[in-house]
Each structure stands twice: as C-alpha cells, then as structure tokens.
C-alpha cells in the first residue's frame, strides 16, 4: 500500500475517462433506440481517421483537426442517421443488431479501402510529458480527462434541462406515447445519434496522439469495452456511465499492475460479472434513468 497503488489508480482514472467518453454516446443511443450499437467503436475510429486526414491533407494544426474531424464525422452521422438509424424505430431488435453489424463492416472496410489496410501513424497532439516527481503524464491526457468532465456535465445538463434532453428521456420511456403527443421520434433518434457519434469521434480524435497507430479495424475492441461500461452503468444512464467507466479503468489498471497485463480484460470482465450478479441491472439502474 504505497504510492504505487495511487499511481495505478490515477492511471486507471485516465483510461477510464476515455472509456466513459466513448460510452456516453452509446448509452444515449441505446436509450432511444433500445438497440445495442455494434458499430459504435467505428465512429471512434472514423474520428481518429478524419482528424488524421485533415492533418495530413489540409493543415498540420492539431487543434484545427479536432474541429475538422468532428465536423466530418458529424456529416457522416447525419447521413447514417437518416438512412439507417431512424428507420430502426419500432423495428424488431434483430434489425438493430444486423444493421449495426453491417454498418460496422462497411465503415471499417471502407476506411481500409480508402486509406489502405496498413496502420498509419498519428502525429501531432500535445504529447509533451508533464512530470510530477517520478510520475509523468502527457498534456494530451490531462486534456482528455478535462474534456470528459466537461462533456458529462454538459450531457447531464442537456438531458435534464433542455427540450431535446427531455424528449430523449421521453422516447426512451415510451415510444407509442411519444407519437400520441406529437413528439417526432425519428428526429429525436437522429439528433441523439448525431450527438452520440460526435462524442465518440471527439474521443477518437483526442486519443489519437496517445494511441499513435491507427488502422481501420481499431474500433472493434473499443465497442466491446464500451458495451461493458454502459451495461455496468445501467443502460441509458449518463451519470452511471461516467462512474462505471472510471471504475472499469481503475479495476483494469490494478489487475494489470498486480496480476499481469494478459489478465487485464478478462479479470476486468469477471469483476463486471460479479458486480452484475449483485446488481443485475447495472450499478445505477433504479428508476432515475438519465
């Protein structure tokens, strides 16, 4: 029990905030569509690639690439939202699974087609380390954690106090009743999807300089983690997602620190499963969705 455990907890929080950030979008999309989004990691990947493309073809300024990347992916999200996601409203759940699996294949392999299958190096970002004694951390990570906090505060506010936020809650509760009250469910789904995807893209861009190597299939493992986080946080629960993300990050980091990296994912999962045994609907399910 020394500074080592502290250091690992900090490491865990840093990793966990990335998990939480990606998962925030997915949990909102799940809330309105009741569909597991198997393609969510792909939007994360698209974000990274969009920023990489902006940096290597338009400008080498990373800060501009953040804006450009989010913008590009948002355009893609608008198209997919219209062409696919909004049509999943009221469809049997297998439609959601198949459609998102299909989307995931398409997005992954279109990127491979367009940019080649080989991995690319994402240069840029603020990677200078900040050193605190023998504990170091790049500026990029500090920014990532900061952005996570901001995004979650904003989401919480949006869901509680804005018209869109309330209608997201309404759609997640009762779709038929939304129709009766004239709430445009499809529009709400589109907007939620756009927000969710934009957040995923943002997290992809912010982690780009940390992950360094980028390739078309990099989203797949993210989807898995994200799914774990949103289940643990209680599906559709924004605050729960943040806490669950951080928790998973810390647990994983302790496992890697004390047992071994190769056991990290599976022990993390076992911890998650044990927790689910105690709270079958996630840590923060209860009544207060969102």
């Amino acid at each position: 029990m020394d500074s080592f455990i502290l250091e690992q907890i900090v490491n865990g929080i840093i990793t966990g905030s990335m998990y939480a950030l990606v998962a925030a979008g997915m949990t909102m999309i799940f809330g309105v569509l009741r569909a597991i989004n198997f393609a969510h990691g792909e939007y994360y990947m698209l974000g990274t690639f969009a920023a990489w493309w902006v940096m290597s073809h338009l400008t080498s300024e990373y800060s501009l690439a953040i804006i450009g990347g989010v913008a590009i992916v948002s355009v893609i999200a608008v198209v997919i939202g219209r062409a696919v996601m909004q049509r999943l409203v009221g469809q049997p759940f297998q439609a959601g699974v198949l459609a998102t699996l299909g989307l995931s294949l398409i997005l992954q392999n279109v990127v491979i087609l367009a940019f080649g299958g080989g991995y690319k190096v994402f240069s840029g970002g603020w990677i200078e380390p900040i050193e605190l004694g023998d504990f170091g951390m790049s500026q990029q990570r500090v920014i990532l954690v900061g952005v996570t906090v901001v995004v979650f505060v904003a989401l919480e506010w949006m869901v509680r106090s804005t018209r869109l936020g309330r209608s997201i809650r309404a759609v997640s509760q009762n779709i038929e009743c939304c129709q009766v009250n004239g709430i445009d469910v499809e529009q709400v789904v589109r907007k939620t999807f756009l927000i969710g995807v934009a957040i995923a893209a943002l997290s992809g861009i912010l982690t780009g300089p940390i992950n360094v190597s980028i390739y078309g299939g990099m989203g797949e493992s993210i989807t898995l983690k994200t799914f774990a986080v949103i289940v643990m946080g209680g599906m559709g629960n924004v605050r729960g997602t943040l806490i669950a993300g951080l928790l998973l990050g810390v647990v994983e980091s302790l496992v890697a620190g004390y047992i071994g990296l190769q056991y990290r994912d599976s022990v993390g999962f076992i911890a998650l499963l044990l927790m689910l045994m105690l709270r079958p609907h996630g840590l923060f399910s209860s009544k207060a969705r969102f």
Binding site: A170, Q173, C177, C178, G182, K287
Partner: protein, 242 residues
C-alpha cells in the same frame, strides 16, 4: 359538420378491421362510441389519429380530407387522442409530462398553457413535481386527458378512460369530460361502461364488426336495447331501424 367519416376502410397491415364506417360529428357534440369487444372502436379512434393503415374512404375534417396523415399532422389540425391503457411518461414528473405534451407547440407560451390545464385540473397542480408513475390510476387518467387538452384541441378522442378506476375516480373523470364538453369541446368517447357513457354523452353510436349499426341520441337507447345490439346487431323492440 366538423368531422365526417365516409365509408372508411382501415386496419393493420393487410388485415382489414373497419369495413365502411360512416359517421358525422357536429361541432361541440359529445358522442359516445359503444360496441362489443373487438368491434373496432379503438381502431376507429386510431384511424382518426393516423395510427392505422388507411385502406379507403374519406375522413373529412372541416371539409378537408385528412385520411392517412401522420399523428403529428393530426395534432396540428386540432385533433387530440387519449389512447386505451396507460400512456404517460412514468419516470417524469407531471410538469415534465405536460411539457412533453406541449412539444409540438413551437415557441409557444408553455407556462401559459400549463397554467391553463392546471386551472382545468387543479388536482394535478398539487402534485406537479411527482413522478407520473407514482400517482393513482385515476390521477394518471386525468393527466393523460390534461396532456391532450393542453394543445387546446377542437376534438378530443378518448378511449376507455374508466378502465381500472374506482367509482370515485370514474365520477371524477366523467365530470371533467362533461366540463370540457360544456367548455365547447367536441368529444368522441369510447366506453364499455355504457351506463356512465350514456349519462354523459348526447349521442350514442354503436359499432359492430367494423360497421356502424346504430346512431341516435342517447335518450333513445336503453341498456337492454344495447345488449341486443351488441349480441345480434339489431334492437329487440324494433327491427326496422338502422
């Protein structure tokens, strides 16, 4: 003539439920729609609100054909619908529910609208910050009606509001319906509680097997007649009418 239904055919998917319904409702009328289970009463209301598959015939609203429009458009035309069974947002407060009901009112005066309904249903105001799901059945029914009334519709379609309510609560709901009617609103009410419905309404329409088989002022119809109508489609006392 406010609402004119002319030889309406409608159903679900390729299933026909309504086979040529004819019905005319004047402005400010309180009509109750009765009929055995599965007659298509709910289907008719849903069709008027654009929630079924339209197969043929016309629905004219103030002379305009509105058949086949989307629910949202119906709301825009001043039609509001309170469906069968619970339909509110259980995990939101009454205030929030009303706000969702006002969703389609673009940059409208939400607060004003809300005060207007709270005036109509003072019970709701008392519990405005409670979750809808925690209220009793009668109160939820009132909430749903309030959500429909909020948009100041010209016609209110109400499907079986008395189901599951205690006698007291039923009296409450029907009194409110009568008040709304007095306030000049057109009401089309579907009920199985025929006695209550005929007390409250002016005109009774009986639907059977997807067709209107009876249409008269309530006073011309007794409970015994109604039983025959439901069973055989004819009234015992005079077989000639229809």
């Amino acid at each position: 003539m406010e609402l004119e239904i002319d030889n309406l055919y409608a159903g679900y998917g390729h299933l026909d439920i309504l086979h040529g319904v004819d019905l005319k409702i004047r402005h400010g009328e309180f009509v109750t729609l009765l009929g055995p289970n599965g007659a298509g009463k709910s289907t008719l209301l849903k069709s008027l609100f654009g929630m079924t598959t339209h197969k043929g015939g016309a629905i004219r609203w103030k002379g305009k054909d509105i058949a086949g429009l989307k629910p949202q458009a119906m709301l825009g035309h001043g039609i509001a619908y309170v469906p069968q069974g619970r339909c509110n947002f259980q995990l939101m407060t009454i205030d929030e529910n009303l706000e969702m009901a006002a969703y389609t009112i673009k940059d409208g005066d939400l607060k004003g609208e809300r005060d207007y309904v709270y005036d109509l249903f003072p019970i709701l105001q008392k519990r405005r910050n409670e979750l809808a799901g925690n209220m009793s059945g009668g109160e939820q029914q009132l909430l749903e009606m309030a959500m429909a009334v909020l948009r100041r519709p010209e016609i209110l379609l109400v499907d079986e509001p008395s189901v599951g309510l205690s006698p007291q609560a039923i009296t409450l709901v029907f009194n409110e319906l009568k008040r709304l009617h007095k306030g000049g609103r057109t009401i089309l009410l579907v009920e199985q509680n025929t006695r209550k419905a005929m007390e409250a309404a002016e005109r009774a329409v009986v639907l059977r097997l997807g067709k209107v088989i009876w249409d008269s002022p309530c006073s011309e119809l007794s409970n015994a007649d109604l039983g025959e109508l439901f069973m055989t489609g004819r009234r015992a006392t005079d077989t000639a009418t229809a």
